[in-house]
């Protein structure tokens, strides 16, 4: 293509419209399908291997560690205990909590969860390292464990962190709007207590790190599958007591993230220490058992919530009290509560909200940001309340939603807490979903099949999917604004041969960033995507990055592309200046076409990108003095919609997609098994850049929700032992147990993202939970069952049918 010549608009982003919006095949995949992708463990490098000795107890004092047998074990290069770590590092800095507590990246004198690393062993191979780890002898004096939220809150409960004097490390309460008045004036209040399970999106590649130390410079090189190198650089350097420039981070291909790989950094610290100690590069590839045991969980939550309504079904106010079990890692404790404000009123015009929360620590594994971070739980609660209200008022679940949706003419709409919904048409989204699902037909079918003893239910849920975190949010409770907004960097340059190269500060974990970036840049420069080179690998030595840099919170389509667009604009402007000089015309008379810049209306008067590059680098002496040599442009971008948070007003996230899911569930009432014969999604994704990628994100995300809704839960014994520690017992959805999805189209461009895009990565995981729960509850209406918890297991379902009435 590239044969379209369009005049360059002074403020336009694109000069062609060939690539953006097209289902361009992913450039990443040719390598992948041939086994040529390079994940951390694929790096061909002579390394020693690390194995960890982990605590068998949930809560215990370490009374003695004997490492002599391990040190004498074949191939062992180094052994390191928690005390060694404490001597060489700073304690972990808390992010969300206000309590003052001390914790290191390995257990020191006391273990706080079963699976906490106690000793690290380095040996020549993985086999030898595991052999040696088995020969470390640790004596423990078991302490009484606190496992569940209620235990941790009980009077006189054992303390996970004694110095805090409590197991509640963060507590706060917010009120926006006239909540008390709304509840006083309400005709109806629906109230329920909900439980969200502890689960995880479990990327197929677990955490992986290689660390190398150069004794001459004292510098480290780290290969890892980290998702947020910006913050990691800060955390590692602070903990390891070295300046940021002393650690170079390389992130090759990554086998999935979903937030789980935001917490790799403590192990980077450990690996750096081990590399220095062993005098050799060291490799740690987390095993799946370690992954499930030690630190990749969503906190489970106990959420009391009530919704105040008028007689006509209008929602007046919502009140939420959330207690979350954040396990035992101070860095990530307390990052789940406040983000719920991004969706606390969902798609509805609720004008008053009250939110109180407690971050509870226990002797369970650490928690980490998992796809959607708190928003799946909040949306589950809200959309369940909406269905309960519909039932109480005898309204159709679709109708009660219609009556309360924020209307398109109210956009942009500011929620009581300050979240700004930029655009969207929620009633239309619902209408399309119902139509695509054949809602009325399914409702009739449901009623008819009940006569035959079959129990089908139709569930609807409407969800908001925010994108781009205004990262200062978790400092609201700490009262010290930091880490505001979201910044990303990009370098876009022309090479000596005129080819275009892009480097960003972000990473890819399967989202196809390079494909999408190439589409955008191609349409900005009137070239083909193949002419745009972008590495999928991050390297802190060359990538322009910011503390926020990384892939999480749906920020790629907003700030990463924002940086790419800004840098490409700068590059384009400079190329135009050089072309204008070479052609002896004014820049305004130029147009771009197929890798050349030519005089508008006369394609024969043209100069190629290659020639422009030659002027910029090799023949720069010929350029006028005011044109600086070189053709590499760096830009940093932030979404200016971010507000500096105040307790009275803040926005947690900066773009807002929305979705409606309509699900049909069938329950085998003799066994409690649930199947999903129909699944419809209409997701308003704003402008689509690549429909093939967008579709995969939406479906994949939804299947994470199906996992959490029906299958997945980390179960613990009363003494704090994880009972679902392998993929035999921690049940992921498989191809046979997920439905085929019907996706509808909906594109309301976002006015505040650079290209009109909205988020697509988390909406499925957010909206599916209540949709499935609502469908199951509808199926079981004849039995009077209410769904208040997830996952909806066959056993819980059967018990509810047979009299318990609550799932």
């Amino acid at each position: 293509m590239g044969d379209s010549t369009r005049p360059l608009e002074s403020d336009g982003v694109f000069v062609t419209s060939q690539w953006v919006g097209a289902a361009v095949p992913r450039r990443e995949d040719a390598r992948t399908v041939q086994g040529q992708a390079r994940y951390v463990d694929d790096i061909d490098m002579d390394t020693a291997h690390v194995a960890f000795v982990r605590s068998p107890h949930a809560h215990a004092r370490i009374t003695a560690i004997d490492t002599r047998d391990a040190e004498a074990s074949p191939g062992v290069l180094a052994v390191m205990t928690g005390r060694d770590v404490a001597a060489a590092t700073n304690p972990v800095a808390p992010r969300g909590i206000t309590a003052s507590v001390t914790q290191y990246v390995m257990a020191v004198d006391k273990v706080r969860y079963a699976g906490e690393p106690v000793v690290a062993v380095v040996a020549g191979t993985q086999y030898l390292a595991e052999d040696a780890a088995a020969r470390v002898h640790v004596d423990y004096e078991p302490l009484p464990p606190v496992v569940e939220i209620e235990e941790a809150l009980a009077e006189g409960a054992p303390l996970v962190f004694e110095e805090a004097g409590t197991n509640v490390l963060l507590h706060d309460a917010f009120e926006h709007g006239d909540v008390a008045g709304a509840f006083r004036g309400a005709d109806l209040v629906v109230k329920e207590t909900f439980r969200m399970p502890r689960f995880s999106s479990t990327p197929l590649e677990p955490w992986a790190i290689i660390a190398q130390w150069d004794p001459g410079t004292g510098a480290f090189v780290v290969w890892s599958n980290d998702q947020q190198p910006g913050r990691t650089a800060i955390n590692v350097s602070r903990t390891l007591r070295v300046p940021i420039d002393k650690v170079r981070y390389i992130i090759p291909d990554s086998g999935g993230g979903f937030g789980i790989k935001l917490a790799v950094w403590p192990y980077i610290v450990i690996l750096c220490l081990l590399a220095r100690r062993a005098g050799k590069a060291v490799r740690w590839i987390q095993t799946r058992s370690e992954h499930l045991l030690a630190g990749t969980h969503t906190p489970e939550a106990l959420i009391e919530a009530e919704l105040a309504l008028a007689r006509d079904g209008r929602f007046l106010a919502i009140r939420v009290n959330s207690k979350e079990n954040d396990g035992s890692f101070v860095h990530t404790a307390g990052i789940y509560p406040l983000i719920k404000f991004a969706v606390i009123v969902g798609c509805y015009g609720i004008r008053a909200t009250a939110f109180e929360f407690s971050t509870v620590v226990t002797n369970k594994a650490p928690t980490v940001q998992n796809r959607g971070v708190g928003k799946p739980g909040m949306t589950f609660v809200l959309e369940r309340l909406v269905d309960l209200a519909a039932r109480a008022l005898d309204l159709d679940p679709a109708e009660i939603r219609r009556r309360n949706f924020v209307r398109p003419e109210q956009m942009p709409y500011t929620t009581p807490t300050g979240e700004v919904y930029e655009s969207g048409d929620y009633p239309e989204c619902l209408r399309r979903a119902l139509e695509l699902a054949g809602y009325d037909e399914w409702c009739r079918k449901r009623d008819a099949l009940r006569e035959e003893g079959r129990y089908l239910g139709v569930g609807i849920a409407a969800g908001i999917e925010p994108g781009t975190s205004n990262l200062g949010y978790y400092y609201i409770s700490r009262g010290r604004p930091d880490f505001l907004g979201s910044v990303e960097g990009a370098m876009v340059g022309a090479d000596f041969d005129g080819g275009i190269t892009v480097v960003t500060g972000s990473v890819d974990a399967g989202q196809g960033h390079a494909t999408t970036v190439a589409q955008v840049v191609a349409d900005m420069l009137a070239i083909r995507p193949e002419q745009v080179s972008m590495s999928t690998h991050f390297d802190s030595a060359t990538s322009p990055f910011a503390p926020h840099s990384g892939t999480y919170a749906n920020r790629f389509n907003d700030v990463e592309l924002g940086a790419v667009v800004a840098a490409t604009r700068k590059l384009r402007a400079k190329m135009l200046r050089i072309a204008a000089f070479v052609l002896g015309v004014h820049e305004r008379s130029l147009a771009l076409r197929a890798g050349t810049i030519h005089v508008e209306g006369d394609p024969t008067k043209a100069v190629s990108f290659q020639e422009i590059a030659a002027y910029a680098y090799k023949k720069a002496l010929l350029l006028p003095e005011e044109i600086e040599p070189g053709l590499r442009e760096i830009a940093y971008y932030q979404n200016r919609a971010a507000k500096v948070p105040r307790r009275e007003e803040f926005n947690i996230q900066l773009t807002h997609a929305n979705a409606v899911h309509v699900v049909v569930a069938e329950v085998d009432v003799a066994t409690g098994f649930v199947t999903l014969p129909k699944y419809v999604i209409v997701h308003d994704w704003g402008r689509q850049l690549n429909p093939g990628i967008v579709k995969g994100m939406v479906i994949g995300s939804t299947v994470h929700g199906i996992g959490a809704a029906l299958y997945e839960e980390f179960l613990y014994s009363p003494d704090g032992q994880l009972l679902t520690g392998t993929f035999m017992d921690y049940l992921k959805p498989v191809a046979l147990t997920v439905p085929r999805f019907d996706l509808g189209e909906m594109e309301s461009p976002c006015p505040t993202s650079p290209l009109g895009t909205k988020a697509v990565g988390e909406g499925g995981a957010i909206t599916s939970l209540p949709a499935i729960a609502n469908a199951v509850e509808d199926a079981l209406r004849p039995f009077g069952v209410t769904v208040t918890s997830l996952p909806i297991t066959p056993e819980k379902t059967l018990r509810a049918i047979r009299g318990a009435r609550v799932i």
């Binding site: 399908v33 390079r38 463990d41 061909d44 086998g255 199947t675 093939g692 299947v703 993929f727």
Partner: protein
């Protein structure tokens, strides 16, 4: 122990400890890193390779058990003529996200198409029972495999088993048990 295997048509001979898993032989000895490890218990299928034409999990097999066998890994699929149709289909149908499951998925798909050239959607999903994908929700992978079954056989085609299966067993047409509805899995479709 000295073992000798045919690996993607090439003979590889090496001394190995008996405890070395086949997946580690492939990755660390033969340095073919397209075969991945995603779990400890044989549940995820990221390590799927073909041994004597059949899909197996190379993490549940010792290298010494593979002595004398013919093994095909993801690196052995594309030949001089270009990508295998299943590989092409995964690209065309957006069957890849993070790509970590992809080699195992593709090997399972090749084994399926070698025995059932035109599978139903159910047969495709059933053939992927032993392969976990955390990214895609499976749909675009299933679509890719269905698409591959329609692609031309210029390359040798999906009907070409990457290595001829041995013996008459193991390549029957589908599953009479499920077809007759007398077996069931509680949570299936």
């Amino acid at each position: 122990m000295r073992i000798r295997v045919r690996l993607n048509g090439r003979t590889v001979e090496h001394d190995v400890e008996p405890r070395l898993l086949l997946v580690h032989f492939i990755r660390q000895v033969a340095r073919l890193t397209g075969t991945h490890v995603g779990c400890d218990t044989g549940n995820c299928g990221a390590c799927t390779v073909l041994v004597e034409g059949k899909a197996v999990k190379s993490c549940l097999m010792l290298a010494v058990q593979a002595d004398g066998k013919d093994i095909v890994t993801i690196e052995g699929l594309a030949n001089g003529g270009g990508l295998h149709p299943v590989q092409r289909a995964f690209i065309e149908k957006f069957g890849v996200q993070c790509g970590y499951c992809t080699p195992g998925m593709i090997m399972s798909a090749c084994a399926l198409l070698a025995s059932i050239p035109s599978p139903s959607e159910f047969e495709v999903r059933e053939a992927l029972e032993g392969n976990l994908c955390m990214c895609t929700g499976y749909e675009q992978i299933v679509d890719a495999i269905l698409h591959a079954s329609t692609l031309d056989r210029g390359h040798g085609g999906p009907r070409r088993a990457p290595q001829a299966p041995h013996g008459r067993l193991g390549h029957g047409p589908g599953d009479p048990g499920r077809a007759s509805g007398t077996t069931e899995a509680g949570h299936g479709r």
